[in-house]
């Protein structure tokens, strides 16, 4: 008999609404699943068993009374331990905040409460979200559910691992250079970084204010759409929030037979990653392109608008992250893990003119992308140039160069561009290596065109059940 925790929101919500199952039953299964998988995964920093069960009882009562709030009502979820939670410690994966217990919730946590979702725990992550491996020096590394010797990717590594392993139904992540999409790709799940400003960041510990995004990690495209529909919306308390109408992103995903990619113009840019992709990634992405072509999409090869964005964009994160951490670096630097401390200190050497010119390049980049989107509907690329590698691996190959993945941003090579231009980008699974490690690809859309991204992704996902329905070995 399959576990309820293998099911998606799309499958669970009707069962909860019709009272065929109870939130209490579901949360209990979730907590049992956490207990079983945590010795392997280390995906959680805190598990909220008592409060989750109390909330589940309340949700059950509401649903029994006919007060069903929507598709997230009664669904157990987790949040990266960067989201402030009232009365629950929020560590950012750091010893510096080991005893930090906020008095308020992040805005998105409040939205989840309003939607009736049940928080079961806070996920492990790369310290302060400043890294892509989720090898946490204080709480231990996150382990990949497909092969526990491998990294999950990061920085939202615990989030992606918990969703893939069924120790949460969905999770909230953050993305500054790829931190939702990289672990989603490595763990075989779906993650979307929405348009900058689409989802409030109030109450989420910042890494880089102008590059940070919040978004969901889920088992399926529909689940990600349902979650983003609750997360999204203007928040006057977030200086970066955009006053742009939101929508129910699942509305366009109802009739899967009506969804197709015929007539779409799809941009790709192979020259940007020529010679950098691992063979399994290259093969999987080539099959993606062939599928789009075979189904009537026009694939258009582009020269990359701003090749400098990868290196120049790092100036923004370095400068902003240093500004946030400057005081702690002077007074309690020994509490930072070695790799993050190394990266943070570098930010002090960036002159103001370089920061401003990086923002000017960003403006130029956005103008160029706006022109490109006059000719294409979506832009596709692999999510990461390689699949997951072993925890503790000293170096990985970036073209012909051996680099330390903790110091070099090699895993962000294809994802950071979306944080730089602010467009919505989703990663979804498109294949596996011979060693059964997932591979993902990205769909980028126009600013605030999340609905289009979901529709294209859903069409691909529905046509590839052999990929989307595959479960990791932890279910055996």
């Amino acid at each position: 008999m399959s576990s309820l925790m293998q099911k998606t929101i799309q499958e669970l919500a009707p069962l909860l609404q019709s009272k065929a199952i109870s939130p209490v039953e579901l949360v209990r299964e979730c907590l049992e699943r956490i207990e079983k998988t945590e010795p392997i995964l280390n995906a959680y920093i805190s598990v909220l068993d008592k409060s989750a069960m109390e909330t589940a009882v309340q949700a059950e009562h509401e649903i029994m009374q006919g007060r069903y709030r929507g598709p997230l009502h009664g669904i157990p979820y987790s949040a990266k331990d960067l989201y402030m939670t009232r009365g629950v410690r929020t560590t950012a994966g750091s010893a510096i905040l080991a005893d930090n217990v906020p008095e308020v919730n992040a805005a998105v946590i409040d939205r989840m409460e309003e939607g009736g979702a049940i928080l079961v725990g806070k996920n492990n992550l790369h310290e302060f979200a400043y890294g892509t491996t989720s090898e946490n020096d204080h709480f231990g590394p996150c382990h990949n559910p497909w092969d526990s010797r491998m990294i999950t990717g990061g920085s939202s590594g615990g989030s992606a691992a918990s969703v893939a392993a069924g120790s949460s139904v969905f999770s909230l992540g953050t993305d500054t250079g790829g931190s939702i999409r990289i672990p989603a790709s490595f763990c075989g799940v779906v993650g979307i970084k929405p348009t900058y400003g689409r989802v409030s960041k109030r109450g989420v510990i910042p890494l880089s204010w102008s590059m940070d995004h919040t978004g969901p990690i889920a088992k399926s495209v529909w689940d990600a759409a349902a979650t983003l529909s609750v997360m999204a919306g203007y928040d006057a308390g977030d200086v970066g929030s955009a006053e742009v109408a939101t929508e129910n992103y699942t509305a366009g995903l109802v009739d899967k037979n009506a969804l197709n990619v015929k007539g779409l113009t799809v941009g790709i840019c192979p020259q940007y990653y020529a010679g950098l992709l691992k063979p399994a990634v290259e093969k999987a992405f080539l099959q993606v392109i062939r599928w789009f072509e075979a189904n009537g999409a026009v694939v258009k090869e582009l020269s990359h608008p701003t090749r400098e964005a990868f290196s120049v964009g790092s100036i923004l994160t370095m400068s902003e992250a240093y500004a946030y951490h400057e005081q702690n670096l002077e007074t309690c630097d020994e509490k930072y893990g070695p790799s993050i401390r190394y990266r943070l200190e570098k930010g002090q050497y960036i002159p103001a003119s370089a920061y401003v010119n990086a923002q000017r390049l960003r403006q130029k980049d956005r103008q160029i992308w706006a022109a490109i989107y006059q000719e294409i509907d979506v832009f596709l690329s692999p999510t990461v140039i390689m699949p997951a590698f072993p925890i503790g691996e000293k170096t990985v190959m970036f073209g012909a160069e051996a680099v330390d993945p903790r110091v070099n941003a090699v895993l962000m090579y294809l994802t950071s561009l979306g944080d730089f231009n602010g467009h919505p980008v989703m990663s979804l699974p498109c294949g596996f290596t011979e060693g059964e490690l997932p591979i993902g690809f990205q769909i980028q859309g126009k600013p605030f065109a999340e609905a289009k991204v979901f529709q294209v992704a859903y069409a691909y996902e529905q046509a590839h059940p052999e990929i989307s329905e595959r479960k990791c070995g932890l279910w055996n």
Binding site: T195, Y196, G197, W209, S210, V239, G240, A242, E243, V244, T306, E308, S311, V312, S314, I315, M318, E326, L329, E330, D333, R341, Y342, E345, K346, Q348, Y349, I350, P351, A354, V356, N357, A358, Q359, R360, L361, R362, Q363, K364, R366, Q367, W369, A370, Y373, N421, G422, H423, K446, P447, F448
Partner: protein
């Protein structure tokens, strides 16, 4: 980039202390920072003079949103 320049930036411009962790990494910082600054300088050479920075905290007024 001279290491003494970085030390001066830490102490004089940032008001910080050059602790042992920073000192140990200065040679690597010198190489990496020089590289990234050269990249942004090269990019800036291609900018039209009136190119304003991106509106840091909003996409609302970007042309791509119209």
């Amino acid at each position: 980039m001279e290491l003494s320049t970085l030390r001066s930036m830490t102490t004089e411009l940032c008001g910080r202390t050059v602790n042992s962790a920073i000192e140990a990494h200065l040679p690597q910082y010198a190489v990496e920072v020089a590289g990234v600054l050269a990249a942004v300088r090269a990019a800036a050479l291609t900018f039209p003079a009136d190119l304003a920075p991106a509106s840091v905290f909003s996409l609302k007024s970007e042309p791509s949103n119209k």
